[in-house]
Symmetry: C2
Subunit: 340 residues, 2 copies
Amino acid sequence: MGSHHLGQIGIIGNGSWGTALAKILTDNGNTIYWWVRNTEAVSYLQNRYHNPHYLTSVRFIADTIRPTNNLKQVMESCDTVLICVPSAYALQVMEGVDKKMWQGKNIISAIKGILPESNLLLNDYLITHYDCKLDNYVAITGPCHAEEVADERLSYLTFSGLNDKLAHEVSKAFNNTYIHTTCNHDIWGAQYAAVLKNIYAIGAGIAHSLDYGDNFLSVYITNCYREMYHFLKDHFEKVHPSNEKPDFHTSAYLGDLLVTGYSLHSRNRTFGTMIGKGYSVKAATLEMNMVAEGYNAARGMQAISKTYSINIPIASLIYKVLWESLTPSDAFLKLEKMLS
Amino acid sequence: MGSHHLGQIGIIGNGSWGTALAKILTDNGNTIYWWVRNTEAVSYLQNRYHNPHYLTSVRFIADTIRPTNNLKQVMESCDTVLICVPSAYALQVMEGVDKKMWQGKNIISAIKGILPESNLLLNDYLITHYDCKLDNYVAITGPCHAEEVADERLSYLTFSGLNDKLAHEVSKAFNNTYIHTTCNHDIWGAQYAAVLKNIYAIGAGIAHSLDYGDNFLSVYITNCYREMYHFLKDHFEKVHPSNEKPDFHTSAYLGDLLVTGYSLHSRNRTFGTMIGKGYSVKAATLEMNMVAEGYNAARGMQAISKTYSINIPIASLIYKVLWESLTPSDAFLKLEKMLS
């Protein structure tokens, strides 16, 4: 299949999602440079063709991956860079790269969060701080648990970019028998949807631990979708009124909320379950050995909703549980009365 | 709490849903006449205060229920009649009652289907054949597995009627600590949503049996919602343009689709799983000892979509599997290409 228009592709990050994306690209005939922080993982990938800690079942085809812990080498070698690290580490990773190296590169973001230091989406941060061009940016979103990509079970991904040709080329690089792709222009909305859904998934976990049932969960998620829909619509109309409005009843928006809110694989949902059971954020984070994206996202979206004057009352209640010591049961007593 | 404005209430039907509704009404202080076809069930309810076959864990408060297999007696004694039988048997049950007896009664429908003989919603049938008044009609919908009502887990019900006062009185009769209620005017849309969701749930079961995963299921249900949304919106604008348009991102519409599509309790989903595994409709029906509502609904909605010229391509594919021997795997190969 190749990727001539994209040139050489590099991937930054080797968590589950980065590993799944590497699998798709290499299955499709691409050779990738791959920045992997951990040297043990580098040699594992070099010698045994799989990741030691994430999606270990994925065995790469020999010679399709060039793992390294030298980020500069990846940046120098690649025309297209896919960034796939937790949003909390993105800044730290990017600071290791000279500003000039970002110029002219195609940037694909698979980060599902806002940068916690600035409350900015990656594209807004790169434009402000690295003089990147929005025309070179494509965001990947969609309901896509990495575990199911490893099993090659049919999944749908959405590629959002203002540059039609680039978005199309990127989507083509990922499209195959088990990945169906679509493109749109909605860089901001698609990413905000991906951020919001992690907050709502924490709420789904809290609801589960407070012993609400399936009937309630369906009403909760329905109301989360209504809130997400209004946020996206209002944001779109306030900030990008001249663009073509996307259909929000699609996989990147409602679909991603559903898979995250309903799946027991979801780490944000698991985090919420612990919070609902009375774990502190610190204890839950230690127990999971990771920061759930929705935790910082709740604070970020709280700030963003104020910036744009768009209310997101459900996400705000989750924020207050995580950051202002509102108890989960008090939050849900309030929530019960808000739902319809 | 009482129900003075509703007068004496009667319930027709004692399946799981009828039993759950009887529990709510009697928990709220109402005494109900209850038509139960099976004489064994009548004496069980009279002597042991619970149903022998459905929601057996629900024990009624003594003297709050008056079970009988004499339908005329129920009709003569009651001012408000709640109908809760499978749509396939509704006509047969109603034929046992003299036309005059329906006059002036408040009719609450908890039937989640269209009458298969006429492809009509119950309200349209009653108006055409029994001279009932639309002003006396209220439909109950919402994501509400009866099993969770039995456990008194918080659930949300929607009461749709053109007569605000009646809808409000009915909703008040059901509202309590574990049932939250809302009202709207959308008799047709709320009921069509309840019908469509059973068809889509059969599809969810088929997808499950064909080994699609959570990623796919979320995309499938998202696209079902988009189709439902467009059907409801188009139908509303074509048939009831002067009414106030309801918010479809609420529990009676999206919520009911979610609980039915995702829950393993759903009988339509179970039926779909058998169909996907290669059972014939007849074998699946025998195995389940009941007709899944979505089976007749698929044929009914196929006709209704033609009547109103509103396409519902996903529901049509399920229809073709159930009624025109399209194989489940061929249907889903087509479906894969339609989703986004």
